[in-house]
């Protein structure tokens, strides 16, 4: 049994921006197709949580002992974002949680590090990106938001690593200084000129290390934010064209740091045992890895939840461009005549971590009644301090009643308020997200999703919301 990836998960947000909407609003053509858009209540931390929940959702996924999180768009600096992911996944305190934030190449490092750790103990790598840019620019148009997560373990791998290689080069192609909201890019032909040889060098070394020829490759993924260099490199590798992984630029867009992971997940969801997969990343140098699928793959595919292809197929592409700009802070809208939200208090949040992040109810040991939020006194039998925590984040529920709140503070009004009755007991009143207000009914089936409720005084307020059950709408 080989060590390596044993489970994976991806998350593509519900919303898509149709590039035609940009063109219509700005009066200049913005191309065809759509890009994924994180909702106003999502950030790279919540995108990462959702991908990781899917990776760990498979019953066979081992519990990670290390969590590595990487993103070029961290919600916090100076504070470990992986700690919030750790808490939202309900991982044990003894699990190490680390950020590797910065350039999109850090995502590769997180995955490779988890792969190395995975040979000794289960390790989870989570990579998320949220790409934005100035209105009307290529970054805004071609970027995308999403996340991928991989669980590595000492045995039971669905792919084995045949070889890998890297090349590095200091040059100015894409950059952003801390505090800036948008990236700068040098003239693209310069970058192409530098990238292609770097890519070829890493790829050639990896193929050599793997003891194969380019013609043996069944699935080729070439990723990178430099679209032109990626195309040129792909054409120069000598891999048969029908092995090229599908181009997602017209549906998903470029996921930046998460692009190679999501593309690999998509291949894993379609591949058969014994196939060779090459992944090549162009990011301030190049990284290449050659993998071969194992006999463990079909069982993992059968256990696996929502595929990349299924997520591409669902989505909702009628997001107004003005709403997108509002979510990205590029359009300053008149606020409601309501007080600003209060930042959550650190000690209160610390005391309620199991609830706020882990979505743990308390179940009465005496009578079984579930309480959300957890309480010490049982509503039903009044027993005191006879409770055990019970995580309900993965439990589905049904809408008991609902409202559309046009007064409550939100970056994207109206707020949908729902009362959710959970399967197996327990009720909670919360917000509903990723839903059409006109489609909510008594009886709508829902699942929970980890979101950023709002940010106040620089503090992100994370909590859970309901959303329509995947496949129910």
């Amino acid at each position: 049994m080989a060590s390596g990836i044993v489970a994976w998960g991806t998350y593509l947000p519900y919303w898509r921006l149709d590039r035609k909407a940009i063109g219509l609003a700005l009066g200049s053509p913005a191309g065809r197709g759509t890009r994924t858009v994180a909702s106003y209540d999502e950030d790279t931390t919540t995108l990462g949580v959702e991908a990781a929940r899917r990776a760990l959702g498979s019953a066979a996924a081992p519990t990670p002992e290390t969590l590595l999180f990487s993103t070029p768009a961290p919600a916090y600096l100076d504070k470990t974002n992986a700690a919030a992911i750790h808490a939202a996944l309900g991982l044990q305190q003894a699990v190490g949680a680390y950020d590797m934030v910065g350039s999109s190449r850090s995502g590769w490092a997180a995955i490779q590090s988890a792969a190395v750790m995975g040979a000794a103990h289960p390790a989870l790598a989570v990579v998320a990106d949220l790409r934005t840019g100035l209105a009307g620019g290529p970054e805004e148009r071609e970027g995308a938001d999403g996340a991928a997560a991989f669980v590595f373990a000492p045995d039971g791998a669905v792919v084995e690593t045949l070889g890998h290689a890297a090349s590095s080069q200091e040059f100015l192609d894409r950059w952003r200084t801390p505090g800036e909201s948008d990236s700068h890019v040098w003239e693209e032909r310069f970058g192409e000129d530098v990238y292609v040889p770097l890519a070829q060098a890493a790829f050639t070394d990896a193929v050599k290390a793997a003891g194969i020829t380019p013609g043996d490759i069944d699935h080729l993924i070439v990723a990178g934010l430099h679209t032109r260099a990626v195309k040129a490199a792909r054409a120069a590798l000598g891999v048969k064209p029908d092995a090229h992984a599908p181009d997602m630029s017209q549906t998903v867009g470029n996921l930046g740091a998460a692009q190679s992971g999501v593309a690999l997940a998509d291949v894993l969801e379609r591949a058969t045992p014994g196939q060779v997969i090459a992944v090549l990343l162009l990011a301030d140098g190049a990284d290449a890895v050659i993998l071969r699928t194992t006999d463990a793959l079909p069982a993992a595919q059968a256990r696996h939840g929502l595929s990349v292809a299924a997520q591409i197929a669902q989505g909702r592409s009628d997001l107004p461009y003005a709403t997108f700009l509002t979510w990205r802070g590029q359009l300053h809208r008149e606020p409601p005549r309501r007080p600003d939200p209060e930042r959550p208090g650190a000690p209160v949040t610390r005391r309620s971590e199991l609830w706020k992040y882990g979505f743990n109810a308390s179940r009465c040991l005496a009578c079984g009644f579930r309480h959300l939020p957890p309480t010490r006194v049982c509503l039903q039998c009044k027993a005191i301090d006879a409770m055990e925590p019970e995580r309900l984040a993965e439990v589905e529920g049904t809408v008991a009643t609902f409202t559309i709140d046009r007064l409550a503070f939100s970056l994207s009004p109206p707020v949908i308020g729902v009362v959710v009755d959970f399967d197996g007991g327990g009720r909670y009143r919360c917000e509903m997200t990723d839903a059409d207000p006109d489609a909510v009914r008594i009886g709508t089936r829902v699942q929970m999703t980890f979101r950023r409720i709002y940010t106040a005084q620089g503090v992100h307020n994370y909590f859970w919301k309901a959303k329509p059950l995947e496949g129910s709408v």
């Binding site: 209160v348 706020k356 559309i404 046009r406």
Partner: protein, 400 residues
């Protein structure tokens, strides 16, 4: 364990109530002074005759000094209370108990709220530092949960439900239109109400009570002393107050078509007052119509209509000012306005006028003048469906 009540042991001998509304011209001190001035004049007592004070305000001041300072009270006990939207009633209840106990001869309960100075729309609550997990739903949203749940349970379709809610708002606006102290003194057409901009769920602007400034006060003494001050006192028949376990939002057994807290407090109050059939025994009721679906559900919780029938009764005009049981003849929270701490006492003020036949002829209810009924009910709640405090009082113009 029982609620024994203090039926016919204390009496209201004087009341005051400021006009409610956007009182840009009056501060908290002014409103308190105005209500007090009217109340003591009504009772024919001097301020210094009053032995103790209970001040209800949600957020317009803290401590008894909020009252003692503007009134320049000379070292008297002043308690400041808060109990959500039932704050004014809570001040009244505690003042009644203090007098009934014999601790004081004369007490005043006063409620005040100054909401309009904040510059915000709707209510602004005060919350302790939290963990950020409370769903930030507005008050209209929390109460709008009632509408689809009620409609779903009793097979009322969405359009009919809107008509019912509209009819309730229309009635209360019609009542307020002839009340000079009300915030909104204009009849509003059914069409205008129905097509008003949506605030939450099915609720439009006209389904919500008025955000308002105001103050109201009552002066209380023991029954045996009442006629020293007043020929026509109002006797306190029942006072019931309950705080629920906030079960609704966590108990799948709660269906959002009732306020269990109201059912309990009503049963307790009826038992204290000896009422068995509220619909036929009461001359009137002032209920907490913070939003139109609240009034609908209250008609059933207070026993004025059978379960599942209040929507038909509302459409039939049963609770109109000239109907079988007038509900909110003064316009209610809907059109009189809802300055939180003052509302419970404002409800009593309408009983004070109507049961003693001091309301102007154009709005004096016939259940008192013709049918000869002598009892009035006030109902005041605070919180949200499934997690609220509820107060019910019964007052009457005759001793039992």
């Amino acid at each position: 364990m029982a609620s024994n009540g203090i039926r016919d042991r204390v009496a209201i001998i004087g009341m005051g109530c400021t006009p409610f509304g956007e009182r840009w011209d009056k501060g908290v001190d002014d409103l308190l002074t105005d209500a007090t001035k009217e109340a003591i004049a009504s009772a024919g007592v001097a301020l210094d005759d009053i032995d103790a004070f209970w001040l209800g305000t949600m957020a317009s001041g803290v401590s008894g000094i909020t009252l003692s300072k503007p009134l320049k009270l000379d070292y008297k006990p002043v308690s400041r209370l808060e109990n959500f939207c039932a704050t004014g009633s809570e001040a009244f209840r505690n003042a009644c108990y203090a007098v009934a106990s014999g601790a004081y001869d004369l007490a005043m309960a006063i409620g005040v709220e100054k909401l309009k100075d904040s510059g915000f729309s709707g209510l602004v609550g005060i919350r302790p530092v939290g963990d950020g997990t409370d769903p930030g739903l507005s008050s209209p949203a929390a109460f709008s949960f009632l509408a689809p749940a009620y409609a779903h349970k009793y097979g009322v379709d969405e359009d009919e439900m809107k008509d019912v809610l509209t009819r309730i708002a229309w009635k209360n606006h019609r009542n307020g239109a002839v009340n000079p102290r009300a915030q909104f003194r204009k009849e509003v057409s059914l069409e205008t109400i129905k097509s008003s901009p949506l605030v939450a769920g099915q609720l439009g602007v006209f389904d919500c009570s008025g955000v308002s400034d105001g103050s109201a006060a009552a002066i209380i003494c023991r029954v045996e002393d009442a006629h020293r001050y007043c020929d026509t006192p109002l006797y306190v028949k029942a006072l019931s107050f309950v705080a629920g376990p906030a079960a609704g939002p966590i108990d799948p057994g709660y269906d959002y078509t009732t306020f269990p807290e109201v059912v309990r407090s009503a049963a307790d109050a009826y038992s204290q007052a000896g009422i068995t059939d509220p619909r036929s025994e009461l001359a009137m009721a002032e209920v907490h119509d913070c939003f139109t679906p609240t009034e609908l559900v209250l008609m059933e919780d207070l026993g004025f209509a059978e379960r599942g029938t209040a929507w038909k009764e509302a459409l039939a005009g049963t609770f109109d000012r000239d109907g079988e049981l007038p509900v909110n003849p003064d316009g209610g929270l809907k059109s009189f306005g809802h300055p939180i701490g003052a509302s419970g006492l404002r409800m009593l003020f309408e009983c004070w006028l109507q049961l003693r036949q001091e309301a102007p002829p154009e709005r004096q209810i016939a259940s008192v003048t013709s049918a000869g009924r002598t009892l009035g009910l006030t109902h005041n709640l605070g919180g949200a469906p499934g997690e609220c405090v509820s107060f019910v009082s019964v007052v009457g113009s005759e001793l039992s």
